[in-house]
């Protein structure tokens, strides 16, 4: 909340009439005022009023820019799951500064994402390019965690990360990163990650590996191959495995866990119409007893039969450990005179959870939405949704948004 107030103060100061006027091209401001309603999953009513603000200031010929994004909201209903207090969330607020042609830094709340780990942090990240064929990123600061209704930042929760990556090397992506997180002063996570992808004619091998230093295990691995027999066809073969891992400060970190593995094959084909067809199959296994496995199938199609109409449909089937699902989804978007967009969709799923002794259950979601481009800088959006399922005979939800851009 404190961080959001700083954000708000900065945004208001910049917009005050007495403030030296910023050129339109240096200030970008996006606002969205929203009203969202509908029962929560325990059937209690929610009526949320939310305000989003996103801005960036990039003065001409300056070496710096300031960027921010956040929201405030209040629930006027009486929800059972969420708090109904006034709340705020600052997503980011940072200063970018260009030190030289090949170095810059970012200071403030920011999202940093590395193969070895990611964090929302209040801190500093530095990018250095052109160190021969490689670039370097360093990041460090206080780790921020979002809770359901608020955010949590403590002075002794810290993160540090470093990433070395190849630049200007074709046809190759290659990065090596290190990440560590402290939880109330104690070291909670430490890991190394590698990401790599290559493009060699019709083949594109890729991999993403994370090594957990405490457990001395590759706790997450993706190794795959994209094959492009023609420009219209993609075939993918992929192996993935993961172990559940926990912060070393959690008692769960010392427990034995099983490895999850997934073998995936998928194909995507673009017909000339244009119609895209898609199919995938994944075999999932858990180390341990023989019956700890599942199969997941998905087939789908996406089409643009006429210029302004896009439709898509998909069918999923999952069977095995954890439960069964058979469901479909149909979606459509229609653009009218470039000013109006109409969208609609339906999802229907039947499922069986092994932890329930009942027969198959079902769930339906139907929705209809529209967007009106009122003027070049103003849009109005509305959406209504109906849910019919095991817990609700009817659970209508909706939202109305007014978006404007400066």
């Amino acid at each position: 909340m404190k961080a959001f107030l700083i954000f708000l103060l900065l945004a208001v100061t910049l917009l005050l009439p007495g403030h030296q006027p910023l050129h339109a091209e240096t200030l970008k401001l996006d606002s969205s005022t929203q009203f969202l309603w509908g029962d929560d999953i325990l059937g209690e009513d929610q009526a949320v009023l939310a305000q989003y603000v996103r801005f960036s200031i990039t003065p001409e010929d300056a070496k710096y820019s300031i960027t921010g994004y956040g929201r405030i909201w209040d629930d006027l209903g009486s929800p059972a799951i969420r708090d109904d207090d006034f709340s705020a969330r600052l997503y980011y607020l940072f200063l970018d500064y260009r030190l030289s042609k090949s170095a810059d830094f970012r200071l403030g709340r920011q999202y940093v994402n590395f193969t070895a780990g990611s964090s929302i942090m209040d801190g500093l990240s530095v990018n250095v390019r052109d160190l021969g064929p490689v670039g370097l990123t360093l990041a460090g600061g206080l780790d921020v965690r979002y809770t359901l209704d608020s955010e949590d930042e403590r002075s002794d929760n810290a993160v540090f990360a470093a990433d070395v990556h190849l630049e200007k090397v074709k046809p190759l992506q290659l990065g090596l990163s290190y990440f560590r997180r402290h939880d109330e002063g104690d070291l909670a996570r430490e890991g190394v990650g590698i990401n790599a992808r290559g493009f060699f004619n019709i083949l594109s091998p890729y991999t993403e590996l994370r090594y957990d230093i405490f457990s001395e295990t590759i706790d997450e691995a993706t190794v795959g191959l994209n094959i492009y027999p023609s420009m219209d066809l993609l075939i993918r073969l992929e192996y993935y495995h993961s172990y559940p891992t926990f912060d070393a400060t959690s008692i769960f970190s010392v427990f034995a866990v099983d490895r999850y593995q997934e073998y995936l094959a998928l194909a995507e084909y673009n017909l000339k119409a244009p119609v895209t067809l898609f199919a995938s199959y994944a075999r999932q296994t858990y180390d341990g007893a023989d019956d700890d496995d599942a199969d997941r199938f998905e087939v789908g199609a996406r089409a643009t039969p006429v210029e302004n109409l896009a439709v898509s449909g998909s069918l999923i089937y999952r069977n095995g450990t954890g439960g069964d699902i058979l469901g479909f989804e149909l979606l459509g978007d229609y653009k009218l005179k470039k000013k109006y967009t109409l969208s609609a969709g339906v999802q229907y799923d039947t499922y069986e959870r092994p932890d329930f002794d009942e027969d198959d259950d079902y769930a339906t979601r139907l929705w209809l939405g529209g967007e009106w481009l009122v003027s070049e800088n103003v849009t109005l959006q509305a959406r209504i949704e109906e849910n019919i399922n095991e817990n609700f005979d009817s659970r209508p939800m909706g939202r109305v948004l007014l978006n404007w851009t400066l």
Binding site: I81, L209, L266
Partner: protein, 223 residues
């Protein structure tokens, strides 16, 4: 030997992918295009299409590339909105819960289906949700008895397998792990060892990081 093999696997990509010069093509001027038009251009220029059908699952590796093209078309808020529930300019297809928007992977009755989908890689949940806070913040609002699977708490013979398979789901209702301790602590109770087979090899790493966790179950300092 095993350690050497692991290091070899880790650094294999370095050896396999040694190659020549690359330049990123700026895409900012194409930011307003539809994916259909992007794909048409890629096809003409013999560049493999991305933003394919499974892009939601696929984009992670592209996003980890440094530098990448993401910011040519997307604000940072685009990532934050999908991963952390925001919605400055939400997709009409996206449903919401309270003030938060949900990605399209959260289909139909997510209250019931998430327990099944969590088995499609238990890690997929924690890519966006804080594993110690998010799950429990919701679960504790329910009548816990209504969430207890049949046999849970009475016949404990199935729990070792269930826990090893998806330990994150245990944490969703028991964030401090207090219910594990009566049996698994060495201070009291049954003293059942919960550690993995190679614990002797790695326990020092955990102790060096934070021996507070060790002391939950062990009175004496570990060797």
């Amino acid at each position: 030997m095993i350690k050497k093999c692991k290091l070899l696997i880790l650094f294999l990509p370095l050896a396999v992918f040694a190659a020549a010069a690359w330049g990123i093509t700026p895409h900012a001027e194409y930011a307003g295009m539809g994916i259909k038009d992007c794909n048409a251009c890629h096809e003409t220029n013999k560049v493999p299409q991305n933003h394919v059908y499974m892009w939601a699952e696929d984009h992670r590796l592209y996003a980890e590339k440094r530098p990448n093209n993401c910011k040519d078309c997307h604000e940072l808020s685009f990532c934050m909105d999908c991963h952390f529930g925001g919605g400055l300019d939400p997709d009409l297809h996206a449903s919401h819960t309270g003030p938060d928007y949900m990605p399209r992977s959260h289909r139909s009755d997510w209250r019931e289906l998430h327990a099944i989908k969590a088995f499609d890689d238990p890690r997929s949940c924690t890519r966006c949700h804080d594993q110690t806070r998010f799950c429990n913040a919701c679960h504790r609002k329910f009548n816990m008895r209504a969430l207890v699977p049949p046999g849970h708490g009475t016949d404990m013979s199935a729990h070792p397998g269930e826990a090893r398979r998806n330990l994150l789901s245990c944490q969703a209702c028991h964030p401090s792990g207090d219910v594990c301790l009566p049996c698994h602590s060495s201070k009291a109770g049954a003293g059942v060892n919960p550690h993995p087979k190679d614990w002797g090899k790695v326990k020092g790493n955990f102790k060096d990081a934070s021996d507070k966790t060790c002391r939950v179950c062990h009175s004496e300092p570990l060797p």
